[in-house]
């Protein structure tokens, strides 16, 4: 075999292995079990929610549109399910226009239905209001000034879900899940003025930009993409789409690492020969 032919054959083998590593876990998804692990940045969020006493208020800002739905929806579903299971009171809001209808309301009503929670008592959904940073500043002073009514035009002041809550300072946790700039805005305005613990969720590609905020303790935890959602699904023991797609992911990652190791072994053997 010439060098070029060897090269081609190696590529075929690699492509074949990748294809198998993808297809087998997809077809036999049910039979594969991943070890239950979680990284500290994700577990921090879980632990915090777990530590909150029943009836505490938290706020979730859902700031992505349908184009990032596949990556971020499982994360929000898992978080919300956890909060409902702990009997926390959850306020849902958005500072992104495109997230208001489909995404925010849809996720909240779906999960609430499953968890048998009541709108206005256990959770509330706020309408979209323009002026992202101004809204968050206002939330840190007076939540009823920012949102006098919920998305169904019901008076927020009268809702049991807001009992004992005046601003986000009274909230025990804020979580922003975003595919854009919303996390930055929450860090700068929400965390600075509201002083509550802040968690962030974002797409996998964006996550690296937020790691410095973990180091500086401005973020309590960070969830990046489906991987983090899968970890959370494991933590709350409610496995869903994210866990399913993590199986082929794990196999492919392992395959690539093994390939790198084999490549280096070949390299060192060849070097020894010459």
């Amino acid at each position: 075999m010439t060098k070029e032919q060897r090269f081609t054959v190696t590529r075929w083998i690699i492509f074949g292995l990748v294809a198998l590593a993808l297809i087998i876990p997809i077809v036999y998804n049910k039979y594969i079990k991943l070890p239950d692990t979680s990284s500290r940045v994700v577990k921090n969020i879980y632990d915090h929610i777990e530590s909150l006493p029943e009836g505490s208020s938290i706020i979730m800002s859902i700031d992505f549109d349908p184009s990032s739905d596949e990556e971020l929806r499982p994360m929000v579903m898992a978080l919300l399910w956890h909060a409902f299971k702990k009997n926390l009171r959850v306020i849902g809001m958005t500072i992104w226009d495109a997230a208001a209808g489909g995404t925010l309301i849809d996720i909240f009503t779906t999960v609430a239905k499953e968890a048998k929670k009541q709108d206005g008592v256990d959770y509330a959904i706020m309408p979209f209001k323009p002026g992202s940073s101004a809204i968050i500043l206002m939330l840190s002073q007076d939540i009823f000034a920012a949102y006098p009514q919920d998305y169904k035009k019901a008076e927020t002041r009268d809702m049991p879900v807001f009992k004992g809550v005046k601003s986000i300072r009274d909230m025990k946790f804020a979580m922003c899940v975003s595919a854009g700039q919303a996390v930055d805005i929450w860090i700068v305005y929400g965390k600075e003025k509201g002083k509550m613990p802040l968690g962030a969720g974002c797409t996998g590609v964006m996550a690296t930009d937020y790691y410095p905020y973990l180091q500086s303790k401005q973020l309590l935890g960070l969830m990046g993409g489906l991987g983090a959602a899968a970890q959370y699904e494991v933590l709350i023991d409610k496995r869903g789409t994210a866990t399913d797609s993590m199986k082929p992911q794990t196999v492919v990652h392992a395959l690539i690492i093994v390939l790198i190791i084999i490549g280096n072994i070949i390299y060192f053997i060849n070097r020894q020969k010459t």
Partner: protein, 237 residues
């Protein structure tokens, strides 16, 4: 003179104008920026004729000379024509139908064409996008999943200290991304966070600073006519 000096002057004037524009909050200045951005899009739209001419010419020559594989060029033309017809036909039909609409009977034999403007759900062009273009797009994009494995296999060899660092960082992150990392060692996710917040941040910032300087210097070379490759002239006169 008119071939060289005037373009250089245009570049200079536009360049200085838009440096100043950045610092002027006045409505006129904002209108100028949005206006010029729109103009650039319009120029691009008109210039597409040049591109299409180039594409059509290339494949026309293939077919005319009957070079091996000229049949593929024919397929290219068919698909190109299909998309064009799907895009333009409803509008053309509407153009003819609309003036007659007042009281006139709708043209029956044309009714099989959905009279929906292109780029709206339900139109034929949209169907072509969903079923003709997007499977190709998704497949090409997903092919990177295969290539990334073969690139990793070939490139990540511990040839030198630099290459070893590249390799180790990549492997740590890949481990940290999946449950395997934690199975091996609890600390891997923490190392991952550290790599992204310290060395990665430092390197990226410095590269950004460099790009800033490169951009300023390069822009100045264009504005002051030192860089004039686009005029053809590469020599400094």
């Amino acid at each position: 003179m008119i071939k060289r000096q005037i373009p250089l002057m245009i570049a200079f004037v536009m360049g200085i104008l838009f440096i100043i524009q950045f610092f002027v909050p006045h409505q006129l200045s904002q209108d100028l920026l949005t206006g010029v951005n729109k103009w650039l899009m319009i120029i691009g739209g008109i210039s597409l004729l040049l591109g299409i001419n180039s594409l059509v010419h290339f494949h026309y020559v293939q077919i005319k000379r009957e070079t091996p594989g000229w049949g593929f060029s024919l397929v290219m033309f068919l698909c190109f024509g299909l998309a064009l017809v799907a895009g333009f036909l409803p509008s053309i039909v509407m153009w003819f139908v609309e003036p007659a609409k007042a009281g006139a009977e709708p043209v029956k034999w044309l009714s099989f064409i959905p009279l929906i403007p292109p780029f709206e759900p339900g139109s034929t062009l949209f169907w072509i996008f969903r079923n003709g273009i997007s499977p190709f797009m998704a497949t090409m994009f997903s092919m990177i999943g295969f290539f990334i494995a073969s690139a990793a296999f070939r490139a990540f060899r511990a040839r030198s200290l630099e290459a070893t660092l590249l390799l180790i960082a990549a492997v740590i992150i890949m481990l940290g991304q999946t449950p395997i990392g934690q199975m091996l060692w609890q600390g891997i996710p923490d190392i991952m966070v550290w790599i992204f917040s310290v060395p990665n941040t430092a390197a990226k910032r410095a590269i950004w600073f460099g790009i800033t300087m490169g951009t300023i210097a390069f822009s100045l070379r264009i504005i002051f006519g030192i860089e004039r490759a686009y005029l053809g002239g590469t020599d400094q006169k």
